[in-house]
């Protein structure tokens, strides 16, 4: 049963987080959700959220309150690769708008959208702190700086190859 598998997986995650965060009880929700999201396709499915709520003994509404507040969490499926585009001034003045346009064209989705092949989700993010090499994007945990439209096309092509090889 799929549900049973989910239950096991999420319970394991919660146990691991409890070990990692031993200073206090009751403040592990955010970290749990991060970990759950890492296991599923970059989102928190409703079954998993229910198990988190039950295991931590908090109302489901509280879990969703947190899930929907933070931009890095999602309740909808997202792509294998999340492209986060730095949307702050240093990247804007060094040509960020061009990079965003290129991404729109290349991926054929807007912010918050996921490509048809399920590989990419495009998101906006606050400053990534790499302002010295703007414009900057982050793909999963990897950063790319000093971007030009040509370089963006190249990077996306690289990930496409990687994604197709993986599936």
């Amino acid at each position: 049963m799929v549900v049973d598998q989910t239950l096991e997986k999420v319970k394991d995650i919660i146990e691991a987080v409890k070990k990692e965060q031993s200073l206090e009880e009751g403040d592990i929700l955010i970290n749990c959700l991060h970990k759950v999201q890492d296991v599923y396709q970059n989102f928190v499915p409703s079954e998993a959220a229910e198990i988190v709520a039950e295991s931590l003994n908090v109302p489901l509404s509280k879990v969703y309150e947190v899930l929907t507040f933070y931009t890095m969490f999602s309740t909808k499926t997202r792509g294998t690769f999340i492209i986060r585009v730095c949307n702050s001034l240093p990247c804007h003045v060094t040509g960020g708008a061009k990079i965003i346009e290129t991404l729109f064209e290349e991926l054929k989705v807007g912010f918050g959208g996921t490509t048809e092949d399920g590989l990419f989700t495009l998101e906006k993010t606050g400053c990534l702190g790499l302002c010295g090499v703007g414009p900057v994007i982050m793909i999963n945990d990897q950063f790319y700086g000093n971007l030009t439209p040509e370089r963006v096309v190249e990077i996306i092509a690289g990930y496409r190859k990687k994604g197709r090889a993986g599936t």
Binding site: H34, M72, G132
Partner: protein, 620 residues
């Protein structure tokens, strides 16, 4: 040093580290976030392979350090014992560096810095390049020098000596008195005196208190906290233990944003190492004092940089600000007294304890002591991270350290304090940068991000951009910030689309002031500042947009046109090929024209024209 029964830092074990480095060939490679994003990792792989090729892997030590500061010239490398600085490295350069520099002792000229003023190549950039020579490094003292993943190297550079001094020779009151006399003020924005904050937290009764580190750096253009945590995590960890001892807390949290995975990894490693040496945990160095510390991760919310929102998020909740008072010093994490400082503030503490408050207070101005780390970004030649004495003039930062504005453009303004601050126009270039002076001209120190803007930047567009950020990031708890900023943003949207009306500027001013007066938290109260500050100094630009429907900087798309100069156009068709909407027409080898009705003002054509024939115009 007083050792007696107590255990002390095993410095005799680690001190030889420094000497070893000076004696042998050591290559320091900058592994700051910016250098990594511009290819440091592939350079490292190539370097290691090349060293092996020449059988040098055992005699040359390779160290990945924290941020060296000069981000635009990355990846960066320093070779010891000579201290030669190489820049803009590519994996293919490694062969030359190993075979020429290491084997033949010849400096690779092509990879050296060039002094921008004298055009002379600089071998030892730390000694000769104006970017470095004007700096005074306290908070960033170890960055680019030590391996951040090695506690031994940190200890070898006087690390954890302050903690030892505090635990073995000082009372908590003496520690607080030292910080007070140093004049250190909070580096996160508001500049509250740190010693006073510690004293307040100490005086609140209670056995259970918390030490918090705000590492939720979110101001656009500020990346010093990320760089410090990635480049020298132990400096912050050491300071937090000291703070715990001073205020009587046994537990601490570092709250860090999830967008900084590398910093989180290095902090975790640092905590593990410090625990292994007994510098965290039970009975630290035999003093009877115990302190434990854990990391809490954000999940993408700018508002969590506000201290009460941060506390909510540490507790695993939505990051929405609490009403103050009670202040965190009285009721913070789990409603217990809590001391909260930012990363850079903590990074100063060990040096203040070690060198004394008088030494620290001798740097800076009368009311703003010490140094400040600034991040230079935007339209400036040398982008990166610099630490300078407070009170330095903006001109020195822009032209000496920053190397001036690229492409011979004129300096227009610099935004400080991010979306909570304001802009400083050219007439204040000679004003000293300190907490008070910045306040008098309508901006703030903030966390130290400086975004430079040149003559091609439209200030109305900048204000709209910042406000858009505040609209996106408003947590939604209080109405003035949630709704007010949205309305202001709509007005700016109209103005930049050429639909501005008489009275819009006044509307923005009144609305902005009400948001400042009535918002709940510090972020809401400062969110209209970028608009008010640009109105204050660039009112004429607003008026040009509204009354004359033109954008003087030629940025706002609805207010500009692209045109081709017939005398310069040779009809190469490059622009027509690149135009995504086919707005450009003309016969080959004859001047082309742009149809303004079809043109979307994307600017692609300007980039490809090799004859300078295309220009932006805004109706006069």
């Amino acid at each position: 040093m007083n050792t007696g029964e107590k255990t002390s830092i095993p410095n005799e074990v680690v001190a030889p580290q420094v000497e070893a480095r000076a004696a042998t060939n050591t290559i320091l490679l900058c592994a700051g976030g910016a250098c990594i994003s511009s290819g440091e990792e592939s350079c490292l792989t190539s370097l290691r392979a090349t060293l092996e090729k020449y059988a040098l892997q055992d005699v040359v030590k390779v160290v990945e350090t924290g941020c060296m500061g000069m981000c635009d010239a990355g990846p960066l490398m320093i070779l010891y014992p000579e201290g030669v600085f190489y820049q803009k490295l590519k994996p293919s350069d490694m062969e030359l560096i190993v075979s020429e520099h290491l084997l033949k002792g010849r400096i690779v000229e092509s990879k050296l810095f060039e002094n921008p003023n004298t055009k002379v190549k600089i071998t030892s950039a730390y000694d000769d390049h104006p970017f470095f020579t004007k700096q005074v490094k306290i908070a960033t003292r170890n960055m680019g020098i030590i391996d951040p993943m090695s506690i031994e190297e940190y200890i070898a550079h006087d690390g954890y000596f302050s903690l030892q001094k505090v635990l073995q020779e000082m009372t908590p009151e003496q520690v607080i008195d030292t910080i007070k006399r140093s004049g250190l003020r909070g580096r996160g924005g508001a500049g509250f005196p740190t010693g006073l904050k510690w004293e307040l937290a100490r005086k609140v009764p209670g056995n259970e208190k918390y030490v918090l580190c705000n590492a939720d750096e979110g101001d656009p253009g500020a990346f010093m906290d990320r760089s410090i945590l990635e480049g020298d995590p132990h400096s912050v960890l050491e300071a937090m233990v000291i703070a715990g001892y001073a205020i009587g807390a046994q537990k601490g949290y570092i709250y860090i944003r999830a967008e900084y995975p590398l910093a989180i990894e290095r902090l975790n490693e640092g905590i593990k190492q410090a625990k292994a040496y007994g510098l965290f945990g039970e009975n630290i160095m035999g003093s009877g004092f115990s302190f434990d510390l854990e990391i809490r991760m954000g999940a993408g919310a700018f508002v969590c940089g506000e201290e009460t929102a941060l506390i909510e998020s540490v507790e695993g909740k939505r990051g929405q600000p609490r009403v103050k008072p009670p202040f965190p010093a009285q009721k913070g994490v789990w409603n217990k007294p809590t001391l909260n400082n930012n990363v850079e503030t903590y990074a100063n503490i060990p040096t203040i304890i070690l060198k004394g408050p008088e030494w620290f207070a001798s740097i800076g101005t009368e009311k703003s002591k010490g140094t400040k780390v600034f991040c230079l970004a935007g339209k400036i030649k040398n982008t990166g991270l610099v630490e300078v004495p407070i009170g330095i003039t903006l001109r020195e930062i822009v032209y000496d350290i920053g190397g001036g504005i690229p492409n011979n453009k004129a300096f227009k303004a610099v935004q400080t304090g991010g979306p909570s601050g304001g802009c400083i126009p050219a007439q204040y270039l000679d004003m000293p940068i300190d907490y008070e002076s910045l306040k008098t001209i309508g901006t703030m120190m903030g966390s130290g991000g400086m975004v430079f803007m040149d003559e091609d930047t439209c200030m109305v567009d900048v204000a709209k951009f910042f406000l858009g950020f505040s609209v996106d990031e408003s947590c939604g708890k209080c109405t003035p910030c949630r709704e007010g900023n949205r309305v202001m943003h709509e007005i700016l949207e109209r103005i930049t689309s050429g639909e501005g009306e008489e009275g819009d500027i006044e509307k923005l001013e009144t609305l902005g002031q009400s948001i400042i007066d009535s918002s709940l938290c510090g972020l809401g109260q400062s969110s209209p500042q970028p608009v008010l500050s640009t109105i204050r100094y660039f009112r004429d630009e607003y008026e040009a947009h509204i009354k004359e429907k033109r954008c003087p900087a030629k940025v706002c798309r609805p207010l500009i046109r692209y045109q081709i100069d017939e005398s310069k156009c040779v009809g190469c068709t490059a622009c027509a090929k690149v135009c995504p909407v086919s707005a450009i027409s003309g016969e080959i080898k004859k001047p082309h024209t742009i149809d303004p009705e079809i043109c979307t003002r994307c600017g692609s054509c300007i980039g490809v024209c090799r004859f300078g024939a295309i220009s932006r115009v805004t109706p006069a």
